[in-house]
């Protein structure tokens, strides 16, 4: 049982990384990325490919970050000519294309079986891995908070709110979007890397679009444009989601109910908060940037 709690905590911390990443895009910059899971996938497959080619984890991290940056640039390029809704569809399709490729290019990715046998980082057991994930989460939190409390953060929020005004002041909107995508790719890719080495396996089933929507729910419920909110949302949803199987056993329900409960948690949570508390549990703090 204690191991299970540790496991849930590790996954919560890793999801926190994804939520912080999406929150920078969606919450601060207004970039509705429906392909967030692909950024994670780039990091995970970077780790797995490097491993399958016989390199160590450090090379895997570098490869993952390189792939993630490339993907972030593709996303940003698509955003240059598209409105928010069209860009959402574009990112969703790219994520699905990448999942299809990962499923079918067996020679490269191991196909549907994926790539297994990755080592635990530093040979860590559960507490060690938790410490690692928590450290990554804390570091990301601090860096991203520094970014959003800076003038760059102000420019990004101006881009979200009034792009014309931002342009009239000389901000390069495409450049801002590109930088936001690049910097938010890092924690997502890092998450993929850590996850790959934690579960020692990478496969296309980790890249379903439903995972993206789960992260969306974390950010919307926790609070858009609030880093603590994103982490809170990730932790809360992970705990709820992890307790579903227990509820199922306690109530004697079939496994359909587990799947349905996950969907209800994500969909219902999103809808409730969007309608009744769009600012989330921890709202954005307006006026907090002083210098």
């Amino acid at each position: 049982m204690f191991d299970f709690i540790l496991h849930v905590a590790i996954i919560a911390a890793l999801n926190g990384l994804l939520a912080l990443s999406l929150n920078l895009q969606l919450g601060y910059a207004g970039l509705a990325n429906f392909g967030q899971i692909a950024l994670f996938g780039a990091g995970a497959y970077g780790a797995a490919l490097a491993f399958s080619w016989g390199f160590g984890p450090f090379a895997g991290l570098l490869l993952g970050l390189a792939l993630v940056s490339l993907l972030a640039l593709v996303f940003a390029r698509l955003g240059r000519s598209l409105g928010a809704d069209y860009w959402g569809i574009a990112t969703l399709s790219i994520a699905e294309i990448l999942r299809t490729v990962a499923t079918n290019e067996t020679w490269l990715t191991g196909g549907a079986q994926g790539i297994g046998g990755l080592p635990q980082l530093f040979g860590f057991d559960l507490p060690g891995t938790l410490a690692l994930a928590a450290a990554a989460l804390l570091a990301t939190y601090l860096v991203l908070r520094g970014v959003t409390q800076s003038k760059f953060g102000l420019a990004v929020r101006l881009l979200r709110e009034e792009p014309q005004l931002a342009a009239s002041l000389g901000y390069d909107l495409a450049g801002l979007r590109r930088r936001v995508m690049l910097i938010s790719g890092v924690p997502a890719g890092l998450c993929g890397f850590l996850y790959a080495h934690y579960v020692t396996f990478v496969g296309p089933d980790q890249l379903f679009a439903s995972e993206t929507f789960f992260i969306w729910a974390m950010v919307v419920i926790g609070g858009l444009a609030n880093h603590s909110g994103a982490v809170l949302g990730a932790v809360a949803l992970q705990i709820l989601s992890a307790s579903i199987p227990f509820a199922k056993d306690a109530l004697g329900l079939t496994s359909e109910y587990v799947a349905a409960a996950r969907l209800t948690l994500t969909g219902g949570g999103l809808l409730l908060f969007l309608l009744l508390r769009p600012q989330g549990l921890l709202p954005e703090r307006i006026g907090s940037v002083r210098a």
Binding site: G146, R157, L165, A166, A167, S168, L169, D172, G287
Partner: protein
């Protein structure tokens, strides 16, 4: 005439069949203040929109310091030093007045600055400008929540904080309390004294007389006058444009 900072040749713009700018030629001298007048719908805002790249033009050449800017996007034009304000400024709902003022000056706003923790020393100047325009009491309010006149003031303050070389203001005093108009005029004079060239779209003739040694008049997409504000009454077409044909005849009779 000194070197023009802005030079417009044959600028045309039509919305569908409706020709809004019918081939405008205009030079703006370095360090000058030029009033841009004209009845409602004469194309003043469209002129600013096309020059600053916010609305694509149909034809014409636009040069800033002798270099063509017509292929640039609005952000790039602004970075070259040509900044404009909007007739109806829209302000962010989820940023405070002070935050948008801070964002108005771009120095130190790079991602590298953020990651390295470099701060720009602009906070003091921002607070001074807010104070001068009586915006200090609303500095912590969401910028979208202040009154229309205050938004106008804020947008002027932001444009000035951006430190442009050529600033185009679209009706800077519309909706602003008369007392504050003097303050705006003083601000603009100070900026001009420090070398900022100004183009001011304005309906308030007192403001124009007080600020602009030269003014140009736009009517139905044509420039119909280019003179000192006090000589405007001598231009029959200007009188006609403002009073209509019948009004112009009446005015002539009265004179």
């Amino acid at each position: 005439m000194p070197e023009p900072v802005l030079s417009i040749r044959g600028l045309r713009k039509a919305f569908g069949a409706h020709v809004v700018l019918g081939g405008i030629d205009l030079d703006i001298a370095v360090g000058s203040i030029v009033g841009l007048l004209g009845p409602n719908g004469s194309g003043k805002s469209t002129l600013l929109d096309t020059v600053t790249g916010f609305v694509p033009k149909d034809a014409g050449r636009i040069e800033l310091d002798g270099r063509a800017i017509e292929s640039l996007d609005p952000g790039a034009i602004s970075r070259r030093g040509l900044v404009r304000t909007f007739q109806l400024p829209r302000m962010p709902a989820r940023m405070s007045v002070r935050e948008v003022m801070l964002a108005a000056e771009r120095s130190g706003s790079g991602l590298a600055d953020a990651l390295l923790g470099r701060r720009a020393p602009s906070a003091l100047a921002v607070d001074g400008l807010l104070e001068r325009l009586l915006l200090t009491p609303v500095a912590e309010q969401p910028a979208s929540a202040i009154s229309g006149g205050q938004k106008k003031l804020l947008s002027i303050a932001m444009a000035l904080a951006n430190r442009p070389r050529l600033l185009c203001l679209d009706e800077p005093t519309a909706g602003v309390h008369p007392n504050l108009r003097q303050e705006i005029m003083a601000l603009l004079r100070d900026a001009n004294a420090q070398g900022v060239t100004l183009v001011v779209v304005e309906h308030d003739m007192a403001f124009i007389r007080g600020l602009c040694p030269r003014c140009v008049v736009l009517d139905r997409g044509e420039l119909i006058a280019d003179c000192a504000p006090d000589d405007l009454a001598d231009h029959p077409r200007v009188v006609e444009a403002y009073l209509g044909r019948a009004g112009a005849r009446a005015a002539r009779k009265a004179a």
